[in-house]
Structure formats: C-alpha cells, structure tokens
Subunit: 431 residues, 2 copies
C-alpha cells in the first residue's frame, strides 16, 4: 500500500462551483484519492511520501484532449505556411520517413514537455501507435493512444488491425493506457471505414478519436460528396452511437452544435492550432451555452508549437472575447474547466480524472504563485488563466507518483530523451 | 571603464535580414556595445565581467511599447467584464485611492516581472509619474514615463505642469529615463489640450504617448464631436508633427493607416489586451504591408494580465492568422521584430536600442533553448515565438548591467517589493 500526502496547498478541486481551499491536503492510497479538504493529518502520520506544497496551487492534472504527440520532432520545422502546402510539401513527406523509434522518442519528448506543464493525460492520434504506447508506459503518464486510419495516404493499417491493436493494448497495458480508435476525419475516410469503426467501437467499448470540421474546405468537400453536413453524416453512419472525441469543430452550424451537445460528443477545442493554421474561430461560447462538452487540446507540436494546456486555456479565454466582441465570454473559470474536468469529459474519463475527488485517480499538479508575475493574487482562477505560465508548474504526479519536480524527472532520463529525439528529428528533416 | 563580455551564445542581432550567429560574442564598454560577432576574445582578456551564455540565445532586450506599469496592483482584480463597467465600477474607483507609494511599488513589481521576461525598456503612462520615475531609476531599467493627461476625470495635472515634470525628469535622471508627454486619447482630451501638448512636444523635443482608436465607440465619439476620423483630427491639431507613439490603433481605415505610415507614427499593438477587453483585431498585416512602424505593448497588467513581450509576440503571430484566414501573415520573424527593433522604432529609440549593434546600448537578454519544450531546434525565430516562454529567459541586462539572472535580481530586493506591492494592492481593493 503506497500512501502519499500533499499538504500546505491552495486547492482548486474543479468540482462544480467549488471555491479554493486554503491550507488544503490531499491523500492518496495506491494512486487513488482517499481525502481532499482542509489539512487533517500530521507529518508524523506515517505516509510513504509527504509533499509540502509551500502554498502552491494544487490542481487536478491538466488533460490534453487532442494531440499528435510525436510531432514534437517537427516543432518549428515548417511554420507560417498555407495548410495544404504545409501538409503536402513538408509534413507528409517528412512523416513518410518515420520509423517506430522516432515515434517512441518523439512521444517521450512530448511527455517531458507536458509533465513540466502540469499535463497528466493526453489523447493521442499518430502513426506507429505501438511505439506511442511504449513511450506512455515508460513515461508513467496517462494516455489514450490510437493509430491513424486514413483513406488517402499509404496507410499501414485497416480497421480490423486497429481494433486488434486496441484490444491487445487494453489487455497488456496498465489501466492508465486507454486505447481508442482513430479514424482521421469524415473527409479522409470512406463511409465503409467509418461504419466499421463505429461497430468495432460499440462492440468492444472503445471511444473514437476523430477530426471534425477543422477547415471550411473539408466541410464543403463532405457536403459535396455526401449531401450532408459532417455531423449529420457521422450520425447517419452510426459513429455518434459510440463515445466520440471530435477534435477542432471549427465550422459547425447551430444544428450541428445541438446534435453534438445532445449526443454527448466531446469537443476537443484547439485554439492555438486553429489560429496558427488559419482554420478559424470555433464557436466555443455557443457550444458552452448549449451545454456541449468542451475540452482543450494542443494539437501536434508542429501546429502550435507548444503542449501547454494552461497556455491553451489562456488562448481560449482571450480569442473568443475578441472575436465575439464580448469580454464576458469564456471566463477564467470556464477556461480552467476546459483544461481539466471539461477535457476529461471530452475524452470520456470524467469518472477517473479531471477533478480532485475521493475515488478518482491521484493525477495532480502544483503551480507556484510566488513569483512577481503572479502577484498580487486577487482571484485564483484569473491568475491561473491570465497570468500564470507552464513554467510555474513545480510538480506533476500521475496515479500518485511524482513524475516531475522543479525541472527534474525522477523516473525519466530527460537528457537522453532529448538527444534521441533530436537524432530522429535531424535524420527525418535532412533534405 | 566597465567592460562586459558575453560569449558562447547564439546571437540574433535583429538587424535587417541578419541570420543567427552561432558561437557569438558581445562586448560592451560602459554600457555601450563595442563588438558583436563570432567569438573573438579570450577568457583571460581582462574583462570586468564575463558571462558564458552556455549556448543560450542572445537577443536585444525586448521593448514594451505601451503599458500602465503600476496597474500590476490590480492584476486579476476585475476580469471578464465589459469595458465600461470594468473602468467605471472597478478600475477608476480603485485608482482614485492611489498614493505615490502605491505607484512606486506597483511599478517595481512590474519591473521584476519584465526583467524576468527579457524586457529591458517600457513606455509607461500612469498617475504619479514621479513615483514611476523613481521606481525605474531604482530598478535599473530603461523607461519612458509620462503622466496621464485626461480631461474627464479629476485630474491632478495640466499640460504645463506635465511639461515641467518632463523637463525636470530629463534634467535630473540618468539617460535611460526618457520622459514623454501623455495625453490620454483624442476622445478624452480637449482640442486645446492636444494642441498645447503638440506645441510643448515640438518645443522641447518630447515624444507623445497617446491611446488611439482602441474601441469602436470612441472612434464614433470623435467623429460625432469633430466630424473627423481620429487620425485626421490629430493631424489637424498638429499632434502628428511631433513624434507620436499611438497605442492600440485597432479601428483604423485605409487612409488612416497610410497617414500613420507616412508620418512615422509608432503604433503600439497590444493584442492580448485587445482580445481580453474585446476591443477587436488591429489591422496589423495591413500596417506591416504599408510600411507602418509597429511595435508590441502589453498594456497594463489588469487587461492582459502579463507583461510578457515574447507572449505578446506569439499572440500577434497567432491571432492575425486566424482572423485573416491566412497562415502567412505576421510570421515569426515579423513578430520578433515587433518585440525588439519595431518597438524601439515605435517609441523613437531605434538609434539607442532594439538591435545588437556597435554603438547601441548594451540592453540584452539570454533565452535558454535547453528544455524539452524548445527541442528540437529547427528554426530559431519560430522557436522563440511559437515555443519559448518568458520563463526561458535566464539573464537580462540593461546598459551592460545584469539585472536578472536565473530567478535572482542582483540589485533589487524582490521579496520586499512583492510584499510592499501586496500591501498596496490589498489596501486599494479593500471594499
């Protein structure tokens, strides 16, 4: 029995309406939260590990609802370019050279970055998912891996092998690895493939991770090919009968937002990527108002170029105000919810993570408010969203195990990971 | 004679078209740059101080072209609110309680934050500018202070006393303190006041720091009252005959952008503040295309809530792509220019700072690229804008004097400043 106590914290549980608790304590037993609330225990009470938070903010671990993690290898490799040129001239030709080990080291590099930023769980869609799973297991982090099912590129895998992979991964991995099925998008998969994915998801209880209506062009393409809006098309194919996490959702009409809200589809909003690739402004204020489930994602590091959920929350809180002409939309609390419990809901793990509650996994992070840029502290949510930065994270733990603490990774060889990821990146991009 | 050598750096001078120099060195003598280029000198060459950059990126100090620095005291005090309610119910009533010492400590708090973020110069407009000047002098930083000349609040100062203050400040302060005249905005000053400011600026060689066309409402107000667009109005009053730094410039038409470009007006673009207060999207791609001078500003910490120029540059690079629907606008290089030489031009100090060149002041910062989130490094400009964060700054110097190094401020008592600023903030906001 492994026991952990975190005390002397300012706790934001992210439970509905909960106010910050000062002088708070969290106790976990074998990775499960057993107590959250005002300080209760004593230093001498015989915990295996005790952490004095020094007044730092104790938050549920941040959840990244959409990424392509090993794309860290291409961070900064091709920026400020039109989407199609970026994909066809830079990203896809380079990715064609990927081997398993690249994905392994690229994924671990992303894990280092996310742990430093307080992220404890990520929803990943990428090639060589087996290597991604190995990296997540070795990295100690919570992950929802899926391969990419794409119709129009030389794809290595079909739905049945993807299902086989997901089954095997579930069978052989720790519980914190939750495989999903990853059909790329409505425009890039055949209807047969999408139907097959839906059936497999329902049969085996997998969630589906898919891109949805990221660009105007793809929406038009789906409409031309099917006579339907993308959401109606997915509904017709039965995809929405399974649990779905839909990334981007930039170009939705009112009816589509209503359907996603009603069917409990998790929307992974990726504001930075949407800006950087000029995809547009997702209708997040409308989504929230209509009760849709919205979480935040970073997308891959080649279209962001960070894996920083606090930064993503800040971005969401800012751009929608400017675009709506209304400074009240996406307030700080809502933005923080989208980075925690909202994202957990969006990926279907709201019973396990996303808030600090007895019975949930002990995934948490500590954020220091001590430096000048976080002072004075009038309002904790505002400070976390508008003032704090990834570098303020001082500790990150998954399943009650500390994976990051003040620049150090107790269970990972950061230097080696960075070196190996660099080798892969340089080999891939050598022209 | 004080000599300083920085070596083992990757240098971006930010001179036009200059590529990064690896293994670079900078030498300063009495605060003036005497050499920049490939490593030339030896450790034993008898410099008073030598800094091994350890491969970090050596940049000109970042320049904050528009802020109200002591508003750090109200960071997070009132967010997610409509502009008028925010101003009239929260900010102005609270500011009415300000005393000199509040401004002194609030300004120093902002200086701590900016030094940590690589910012070496700021253009400030606030109440009790004498206290602001004292803080800038004590803080060792470069500053362009001005009081606020406002018609419609109980104002403490008129144009002649503001001019007197600027003259006296110039006379008695170190050269790095460059006073300006600060009429608040076209809609909030009488035409007589603006004319008087223009005359004083021309007579004494002061620049003018003014807000311009931040919101749709104020533009309409000026049009109603004067029959002119704000830029034409300022031109008619003679204001543009002086050097002007115009903050925000969100709502300009083509003709106004052309006039600002032609008259060499420095535009201080504040993207985060414009989003947070829902003011709108300044036409930065058009401004750059037409050759206008554009630098970046943070605005005050109660409408941002950071004083982080790298973050501001990232914001500028991202939101304009999303808004224009074109991922090529405001590229990484342009964004970095707006945070350095562009901002220096915008405040009229391009002969003194903004790039690393022989004869300019030795204001610089070192940014570490060593951590996972800055790896691999395919493109230095992209990395600085899209991947790096304020916390990656490891050292900041003004006039060749190191003011910040890895969390420490050699010449400032950060703990005391934070404590005193907190006392002020809590007294001001006690309801």
């Amino acid at each position: 029995m492994a026991t952990l106590r975190v005390h002397n914290a300012t706790m934001l549980t992210m439970c509905d309406g909960a106010e910050p608790i000062h002088g708070a304590e969290l106790v976990s037993v074998d990775g499960v939260i057993e107590y959250v609330g005002p300080e209760r225990d004593q230093p001498g009470d015989g915990f295996d590990e005790q952490i004095d938070a020094g007044g730092a903010v104790l938050l549920p671990g941040l959840v990244n609802a959409h990424t392509h993690l090993a794309m860290t290898l291409l961070r900064g490799f091709a920026d400020d370019m039109p989407l199609q040129e970026w994909l066809t001239e830079k990203i896809w030709p380079t990715e064609a050279g990927l081997v398993e080990e690249d994905v392994y080291w690229g994924t671990l590099l992303g894990i280092l970055e996310m742990l430093r930023a307080g992220v404890t769980c990520y929803n990943d869609m990428y090639h060589y998912p087996g290597a991604g799973v190995r990296a997540a297991i070795d990295g100690g982090i919570r992950a929802l891996p899926s391969g990419v099912l794409l119709q129009f590129v030389d794809e290595r895998r079909d739905v049945s092998s993807a299902t086989e992979f997901a089954l095997q991964t579930r069978e052989t991995s720790p519980e914190r690895i939750v495989p999903m099925l990853g059909p790329h998008a409505p425009y890039s998969c055949t209807p047969e493939m999408l139907t097959e994915v839906a059936e497999a998801a329902l049969e085996h209880g997998f969630s589906i991770h898919i891109h949805l209506s990221e660009t105007v062009n793809e929406v038009e393409q789906v409409e031309q090919q099917t006579g339907m809006k993308p959401v109606a098309y997915l509904e017709k194919l039965g995809v929405l009968n399974a649990h779905v996490t839909a990334a981007h959702c930039v170009h939705l009409d009112d009816g589509e937002i209503a359907v996603l809200a009603e069917r409990g589809v998790g929307i992974a909003h990726c504001p930075t990527s949407n800006m950087k690739l000029a995809s547009g402004f997702a209708r997040v204020p409308d989504m929230l108002e209509r009760g849709a489930i919205v979480g935040l994602g970073t997308d891959g590091a080649s279209s962001n170029n960070r894996l920083d959920l606090l930064g993503e929350a800040r971005m969401a809180a800012l751009i929608h105000k400017g675009y709506a002409g209304d400074p009240r939309v996406v307030n700080a609390r809502q933005a923080l919810e989208m980075a925690t419990i909202g994202a957990a809901r969006a990926i279907g793990l709201q019973e396990t993570i996303g808030s600090l509650e007895v019975g949930k996994r002990a995934d948490f992070t500590l954020v220091s408010m001590a430096e000048a840029h976080n002072q004075p502290l009038h309002n904790l949510c505002s400070q976390l969203i508008y003032a704090a930065e990834a570098g303020d994270v001082v500790l990150t733990a998954v399943d009650g195990v500390v994976l990051y603490e003040r620049g150090a990774y107790p269970h990972l060889d950061a230097e080696r990971i960075i070196a190996r990821a660099n080798e892969s990146a340089m080999r891939l991009t050598r022209s």
